[in-house]
Symmetry: C3
Subunit: 213 residues, 3 copies
């Protein structure tokens, strides 16, 4: 890959890390956690998915041990986040979900790429991309004692799965890596933003067949 | 091991994976999860225990990255399961628990075997067998926000522990691997089915000593 | 390191393992778990933090697979603990928290030391020390379906962080390893005992700004 593109991906990766960390800060704030709890929730949300991916692939030490900048970004975001929520709110509500959709798109493609670099099949690459995107949020919700949101509604993980499939298919069709990345990211981002805008969600599956309350 | 036996074990392993995945599907159905949530609960139940085992042993990439057929079995089971629960129920209630007991027996022996192949002591092999059998169900229950059933009642993990001990003792006594496997599996399966049939469970341990309600 | 010091650290490590296991036994008792559940909660509390640390660093097989004495200590503690709680209570309330503070101090320094031995930066060593000290308790609380105590109040993880920072700074300042260990352990232990004695805790962070109930 072009070194300039690589640097751009790296910068975006840090931006995605910060956005995901912020979503952990907000959950911690709802639970009246202390400063350490805020850090932990910010960290698991931002780097939890990639950590599990690396442990499953055997890519150890995991990415943030090799490059501690991820941890500094999480720490900085937690401090800024704790300070910023005390301000009168001025940012429009859709800024955070849209930034999150961008982070999700990037994390998906990075996860799928890392799996393929380890020689996995396309199916596993799609799985690893999805895991990189959503597993951090699942751990965050478990620590916050909630049934993970991503398992219950909204097109969130589905966007990752589709993006991952498009990415591996594009590579198999002979496209170059940057084009495949863009296709994947545009797909995840667009689908996710559309889901937010039109409140799309997957049908839920239930054992009772008669009534839904 | 005889290649025919090895193939038989492989086929049984896939059957056990499907049965465990189905138990994840049923829990997801109680919680009104969407299709992705059903997949996740099916997957963690079926392959979660083996994944943790492989990460602890350092057997990475973990088994299902090397052989994605496990993932295909989980996906197929999730789809069939979601469709099948809509049918009027015709299968007797004991079919699933008995199939589950078979899966538990097989997973225990596979886990213990893999640990021994990594040169661990007998104690660790028993632990790894038990973990392969029960850890997936524990993660499933944590995601479903329940205190893991296996920690509270019924002879479930206990069957794995006894089976694992019998397996390592049989090998140390000089029995060949197939005989040791059969002894272990028969023990786990019988004990588990007996526990279901007679509602056996371990005494629970409580800090209060006077009354039990 | 002096072999005598090394042996002393090993003995203390086993003592810390037992104390942490006992705290798992007590939580299991509140939840009326069976004998297996008690074992699991004792084990995750005592060895969970170190296990995650080793998986993240790639130090696999993890420490207790290499040295199963840790598991024997957990099993023995679980049995002794289940028997001891039935006795009329004679030990003063502060014995357990103080023993726990000692275990926390030791686990922190052992975790930081192992990370540095793997060539990580100081930041990651502080993180790994803290994780070794607190992650086991977090998993215990998740299994017990509680929001992890350590995320909500009291100076617990904070003591680990400060201890880890002192340890890495001492080493960078050229102190020998035993001196750095002692400084770290005294700091963690003192801060933790002071927090227990004066009921110190970090301010909690909340999204609501007006009232606190």
């Amino acid at each position: 890959m072009n070194p300039l593109v690589e640097q751009l991906v790296y910068v975006c990766d840090m931006f995605g890390t910060a956005v995901f960390a912020l979503s952990g800060v907000l959950v911690a704030g709802r639970l009246r956690m202390d400063g350490f709890g805020v850090m932990v929730l910010a960290a698991v949300t931002a780097i939890g998915g990639g950590t599990i991916r690396d442990m499953i692939l055997g890519a150890t030490p995991v990415f943030w041990v090799r490059d501690p900048l991820y941890i500094w970004v999480v720490i900085a975001t937690a401090f800024v986040g704790m300070w910023a929520v005390r301000l009168p709110r001025r940012i429009p509500w859709y800024v955070l979900p849209v930034a999150d959709a961008f982070g999700l798109a990037l994390f998906t493609v990075i996860g799928a790429q890392k799996a393929l670099a380890f020689g996995t099949s396309g199916l596993i690459a799609v799985l690893m991309g999805t895991m990189t995107g959503v597993a951090g949020g699942v751990i965050r919700d478990v620590l916050a004692r909630e049934v993970p949101m991503v398992l219950q509604k909204e097109i969130y993980a589905t966007a990752c799965i589709l993006g991952g499939i498009l990415y591996t298919l594009s590579l198999q069709a002979g496209l170059d890596r940057v084009a495949a990345m863009l296709i994947c990211m545009v797909a995840v981002f667009t689908l996710r933003v559309a889901a937010i805008y039109w409140h799309l969600s997957l049908p839920t599956f239930s054992l009772e067949r008669q009534h839904q309350d």
